[in-house]
């Protein structure tokens, strides 16, 4: 069994108890940032997954929002607060929408894909802003999560939700890693390089893109549910282009080199933002912008390339050592 696991997967499995333990050790406010970063990190994963196939989704907020609103509406109108039901609903809603939208989107590439995904997400934004029942732009609050009839309170509820956020995030990440290592995953890179050849080799590029799109929507939907539960509130801002843009920002910043890169990237960006606001509450965006520019200029493959470069350096050293 363990033979089939690669390094990343082993690391992820070890990181789960570490993450959960951190929830008890670290001050609560940092845990809170980790928790929301895991939620949005899942969406960034979805963006990164599509980026591997050369597709930049500028509207991933659509599925983030669908997940959050599905959970919120189940709570508001049906009184459901069970986290398993909420995650399942968010997943179902986003996958259903992605299945149908995919027929359209799979035919487009490059800027056309980016603009079309953006347009779809902004349709939802406009719609939700008009709906007074759903609180319009103010959004509405979610109930506290329950777990198969167990309704914790106070600090227990915070830890329970944190643990309940860590587990699905790690599971999704491992599954995505599996997927990317499999033939369907590598097809993505092949499509990015030369779509025509992929077709000649006997695979449908449309179908592969469609599947990728649905998988990205599924993780984004789960991320939306988890994020909304952590915040306790949803509003249409979730599907605004600024939110989607941030997911792209994270993917570029962290790089597409490894599956955990977007998760780390989200957290790092969040912490940088927090300290930027603290250092300069009026011009904190400039600090983030500068960071983005520097990353693009000096690390075109993202922050993760720092780790990869180091690894490569070590292995060449070893090679040299064994030869002598």
């Amino acid at each position: 069994m363990t033979k089939n696991l690669d390094r990343t997967e082993k690391g992820l499995i070890i990181s789960l108890p570490v993450l959960i333990a951190l929830g008890f050790i670290l001050p609560e406010w940092i845990v809170n940032y980790i928790q929301v970063s895991l939620g949005t990190g899942l969406v960034a994963l979805g963006v990164m997954l599509q980026m591997r196939a050369g597709l930049v989704s500028f509207g991933q907020g659509l599925y983030f929002c669908i997940g959050g609103y599905a959970a919120g509406m189940a709570g508001k109108f049906l009184g459901v607060s069970d986290i398993f039901v909420l995650v399942a609903l968010g997943l179902f809603a986003s996958v259903t929408v992605a299945f149908f939208a995919g027929f359209l989107l799979r035919r487009y590439r490059e800027i056309f894909f980016a603009m079309l995904s953006l347009a779809l997400s902004m349709i939802l934004f406009g719609l939700l802003s008009k709906l007074e029942v759903l609180g319009s732009t103010d959004g509405f609050n979610l109930p506290s999560a329950t777990y198969l009839g167990w309704a914790p309170e106070g600090d227990t509820a915070k830890y329970a939700l944190y643990v309940a956020t860590c587990i699905p995030t790690i599971i999704c990440t491992i599954l995505l890693n599996r997927y990317l290592r499999g033939p369907m995953g590598y097809v993505g890179e092949a499509i990015r390089e030369n779509e025509l050849r992929v077709e000649y080799l006997g695979t449908s590029a449309h179908r592969a893109v469609h599947i990728k799109y649905i998988i990205a929507a599924a993780v984004s939907g789960i991320g939306g549910v988890l994020w909304a539960l952590a915040l306790g509130h949803v509003d249409p801002e979730m599907t605004n282009w600024t939110t989607s843009g941030q997911f792209v920002f994270v993917s570029i910043l962290s790089g597409t080199g490894n599956i955990v890169a977007p998760l780390f990237g989200t957290f790092i960006l969040e912490i940088v933002r927090v300290y930027a606001v603290e250092a300069s509450p009026n011009t904190w965006q400039m600090i983030l912008g500068t960071l983005m520019l520097l990353t693009i200029i000096f690390l075109p493959k993202g922050l993760w390339s720092l780790i990869q470069k180091k690894k490569a350096a070590i292995s060449t050293q070893k090679m040299a050592g064994s030869e002598s």
Binding site: G11, L22, W29, N32, S136, E270
Partner: protein, 428 residues
């Protein structure tokens, strides 16, 4: 594998020390940390966030130096100096930012939030964190009516938005007694929708048989209102209501006055005050102007207000608008409570603030609703008149409405109160 683990442990521990190290600085005993959250960037920063921040800066300095007129002429909050921490409300992680402000920065009191969406998200968290939190500007009545029905640590020192539109309806009917139809042009988001709902419901109750001729909901920050103005012109309503603010309102004023909208219908702008100084002669005479309470030119004559307007003008080169007044209301509320309790301990401030009556540049504020946690104030409306000689816009025919006349009584939801025909309203 081992190296990976080592690296992970190393990097997390570095992160930890970096992050917690700075948390260990404790506040001095004669200092109280107050976190201020307003829009410092984004579309709402210019018209709301920055004027509010400016007012906060001015008040903090003046209070620390003991320069505010009586009854606030003692220095600090019960003698303790205010140490402010400003953060930007324009953030996607509002709750996480709030927790950081409370837990890491060690804010003793949080004053903030302009957007009703932010307030909805923060309302339950303030109780969870058990941290004295004062909302200073957001308008939705839902905060204490639906979301946080048993507030303990949460207060709001500004009256909620229902008051603005009930008073708007009363004022406009006193000017135009023969009004037969109304129309609205409001931004298509929560604030615009709520404002129009309250205004149209109030009009229907105050004057039976009044018809709604058209409801326009352009999207926020649209900037171009050609087709909406055409619709308003062709329907010829007696009254046009708008809760536009900031650049949108200025655009509507300029585009609408050019096409005669303001001479054909009586226009009422519930937040019009913020544009008065900027537009001057471009604002049509006869427009009804509100300021979300007795603020700015609608403020009553009192020493505090004279001092505040002068101090604000001297420092920032323009007169304060209503978000500034709302900020002052929040800060003075906290100061009045701290001075009364003679302590900066949050539980003592909290008990003192509950149900407190205190005086501000915009008159008396009374924490009367929701168990003493929600403020009511009187309000006022006026009609715009441009004075060519002084080159300044003024408000004439100002009418004041007592707090008990335009606010629902305790334990009654705002919309139910309007629907009941303003049951229990005391308008003398």
């Amino acid at each position: 594998m081992k190296t990976f683990l080592k690296k992970t442990i190393l990097s997390t521990s570095i992160c930890l020390t970096a992050v917690t190290g700075s948390a260990l600085s404790y506040a001095a005993a004669d200092e109280v940390k107050v976190g201020f959250v307003t829009f410092l960037s984004g579309g709402a920063a210019g018209p709301f966030g920055i004027p509010a921040r400016n007012a906060a800066e001015l008040m903090i300095e003046s209070i620390n130096a003991g320069k505010v007129p009586a009854p606030y002429n003692s220095a600090g909050l019960a003698g303790a100096k205010i140490n402010p921490i400003f953060i930007d409300e324009n953030s996607k992680q509002k709750v996480a930012d709030y927790k950081k402000l409370v837990q890491k920065d060690g804010a003793d009191i949080v004053v903030g939030y302009i957007s009703s969406g932010s307030c909805k998200a923060i309302a339950p968290v303030a109780e969870e964190e058990k941290k004295l939190t004062v909302f200073f500007d957001c308008g939705t009545p839902q905060i204490f009516e639906d979301i946080n029905t048993k507030p303990e640590y949460l207060f709001r020192t500004a009256a909620h938005a229902t008051m603005d539109n009930v008073a708007a309806a009363k004022y406009v009917l006193s000017i135009k007694k023969d009004a037969s139809s109304i129309a609205g042009i409001n931004q298509n988001y929560a604030w615009g929708q709520d404002s129009w709902r309250d205004f149209s419901a109030s009009m229907k109750k105050l004057k039976g048989g009044v018809k709604v001729s058209t409801e326009q909901f352009p999207k926020i920050y649209a900037g171009q209102y050609g087709s909406e103005i055409s619709a308003l012109l062709t329907k010829k309503p007696s009254i046009v209501h708008s809760s536009f603010w900031g650049g949108d309102m200025e655009a509507l004023l300029i585009q609408g006055s050019g096409r005669g909208l303001f001479s054909r219908s009586q226009v009422i702008l519930t937040t019009g005050e913020t544009a008065m100084q900027r537009l001057g002669p471009q604002m049509p005479n006869g427009t009804i102007i509100g300021a979300r309470g007795p603020n700015g030119p609608l403020a009553p004559d009192n020493e505090l207000n004279d001092w505040f307007r002068k101090a604000y003008f001297d420092r920032f080169g323009s007169y304060p608008t209503y978000p500034s007044y709302h900020m002052v209301q929040a800060i003075l509320g906290v100061k009045a409570a701290a001075d009364k309790a003679a302590s900066t301990e949050q539980n003592k401030i909290k008990s003192a603030l509950k149900g407190l009556d205190f005086t501000t540049p915009s008159g008396n504020v009374s924490m009367a609703l929701s168990g003493g946690h929600q403020a009511i104030t009187e309000t006022a409306y006026g009609t715009y008149k441009y004075n060519k000689d002084t080159g300044k816009g003024t408000l004439v025919n100002i009418k004041r409405y007592a707090a008990s006349c335009v606010n629902p009584p305790a334990n009654m939801k705002s919309l139910d109160w309007i629907e009941s025909g303003f049951k229990g309203a005391n308008c003398q």
